[in-house]
Amino acid sequence: MTKKTNTEDYLRMYRQMVRIRTFEDNANKLYLSAKMPGLTHMYSGEEAVAVGICEALKVTDKITSTHRGHGHCVAKGAAFREMFCELLGKEEGYCRGKGGSMHIADQSNGNLGANAIVGGSMGIATGAAFTARLLGKEDVTVCFFGDGATAQGLMYEVMNMAALWHLPVIYACENNGYSEYTRTEEIAAGSICARAEAFGIEAHQVDGQDVLAVNALTRTLVERARKGEGPFFLELMTYRYHGHHVGDINREYYRSKDEEKDWKDNRDPIIRFRSWLVEEGIAGEDEIEAMNEEIKADATAAVEYALAARYPDVSEVDMHVYTDVTHALARSPA
């Protein structure tokens, strides 16, 4: 890889991390100003995971995402406008407003969708890898899930099959230390990596705040998975800055402000990477600030667009229940 290419890669990674953070800041604002329907789960703090991994993937590679899915969606190539439209339930959203934050999908970029069932996409990701195998495609699939999801039995069922059949899937456990209002130690016995290893799956624990480390390791594993050496398991140590969801504001009963401050001040993936870019002379402060501003402006414009956009027509309510029936509720004539 040439220096030039690397530079582009680095800047794109930085840009994508900032795009995620900026997206989330806007989504949070929409919630706080009561402009967004329902609740949503912020990815802020975990950007290096989604970006480090997705930058190692091709557009044809697949991912499955989670309830905390905006980061994966942006990192896999989605556009702000369709994303905000989706979050607001508008017709121009990726899912015509039918999915919302917890089901946002972007099949044009290989994002098979967020999932509101914790662990619910583990089978789907494994199946996408199965497809690659059966149809002789070289796609690799990354399955994102949280530490909490390691408690779901489904994970062990599909890891077993993936291991037996050497499927090109990478299980990426985003260990942010909590599932909802509970610390990981209280709900996970033993070792998460060892659980994958027991199925004969190569597992790695990585610093999820270091986008370069995540990216380098993922690149290697993706190439190996393409060659049939998969599956692999990653445990990415990270942190969510917000509450479990946007409404989880008073959270000192389960974690301290000090702990949050420590992660934000000392381990922020964007700040870290930005300093490195500057130190290495890959980008100047001005350039970076300009990029940040541009992204902010993009986001603001997308939010405005989405706020003004149309809701789906009520006639859409029974469309897309089945592929071959325009209106599912139109009964056969009596």
Binding site: P37, G89, K98, G100
Partner: protein
């Protein structure tokens, strides 16, 4: 009488029963310090400790199975399933194990277990957090199914459920947790299988489950303005179902609408309507009508979600048609 929220009512029911019987415990995700995401259980862990208010990993089949085994061996678990939509995950433990153990053992083993969960759309929670899946469990012999329609009902039915020696599933409407209703300070229980005539009427019977009772009452208000007198009945438990009360009302009014928030097809409305048709057919002036949720996954967009569930206006409109004899033509 004092007014408390449905949340508080459930909380009180649990606290009272846990004080009364030390075999009762609560198990589920974030039930202890967090008191559940809906905060229904706040304060219980402080009184009863983490041995009896047990936070689990996110492993619904696992803790449901654990509860079945605990119930079989002498405890009385109350399982907290955070969203009714997760019931799919525990169907095997609930329907193959809990529901059948007493029967398969020829009456020797019991499973005195309560599964507390919820239902209800219009919370902008999209397709996997908005379902009303009570019909699925009502279909399985061996389970009892309670559908509280107010804080009062929630308390009385929960206490009965906990004392029942069979597996009972209680569906709370998650949009009603903050709704207040008069609830006596003194202890009370509400028996299973005894429907509640919420309002007497002459012309038409509106049968509603869970929050649809309120929808029926609001519809009855609308109809009253037009001189139509609607009787509103809350079956309280759909298994066992108090047929007698429903039939008596149907025979009296000769017109019935059944309203339920589950999907309409192959759901609760068909069963209740059929039982009435079967047994009160010759008293009916018109077919029993059914209003369930639309047969579509619950859409996220507020523009779509709100039209998927029955509303007072919708119920009143159907009632007017029934009164006007319009169904004869509709049926052609």
């Amino acid at each position: 009488m004092r007014q408390i929220t449905l949340s508080q009512a459930v909380n009180e029911a649990l606290a009272e029963e846990m004080r009364r019987d030390e075999r009762v415990f609560i198990i589920g995700e974030d039930v202890a310090e967090a008191g559940t995401p809906f905060k229904v259980l706040s304060g219980l862990v402080e009184e009863f400790g983490t041995a009896r208010v047990v936070d689990t990993p996110i492993a619904e089949p696992g803790f449901m199975g654990l509860a079945v085994g605990a119930a079989m061996t002498g405890t009385r678990p109350v399982v907290d399933l955070m969203f009714g939509d997760f019931i799919y995950l525990i169907m095997d433990q609930l329907c193959n194990q809990a529901a059948k153990t007493h029967y398969m053992s020829g009456g020797k083993l019991n499973v005195p277990l309560v599964l507390r969960t919820n239902l209800g759309a219009t919370r902008r929670s999209a397709a996997q957090h908005s379902q009303s899946l009570h019909a699925l469990v009502a279909h399985i012999p061996g389970l009892k199914v309670a559908m509280p329609s107010s804080a009062y009902e929630a308390k009385g039915l929960m206490k009965t459920a906990i004392r029942d020696d069979n597996p009972v599933v209680i569906f709370e409407d998650k949009l009603m947790y903050n709704d207040k209703a008069p609830v006596p300070e003194e202890e009370f229980l509400i028996p299973f299988g005894a429907a509640n005539i919420k309002r007497e009427g002459r012309d038409i019977t509106l049968i509603g489950t869970s929050s649809m009772v309120q929808v029926c009452e609001a519809a009855a208000d609308l109809l009253a303005q037009e001189g139509i007198s609607a009787e509103v009945i809350d079956p309280r438990t759909i298994v066992p179902l108090d047929e007698a009360t429903l039939l008596a009302s149907a025979r009296k009014t000769s017109r019935v609408i059944v309203v339920d928030e589950g999907h309409q097809s192959y759901g609760v409305t068909g069963e209740i309507a059929s039982r009435i048709n079967e047994q009160a057919f010759y008293h009916l002036d018109a077919p029993v009508l059914r209003m369930g949720a639309m047969d579509v996954p619950v859409p996220f967009s507020p523009a779509l979600e709100d039209i998927t569930v029955p509303t007072p206006e919708g119920v009143a409109a159907q009632a007017r048609k029934l009164m006007a004899g319009e169904m004869i033509h509709a049926a052609e």
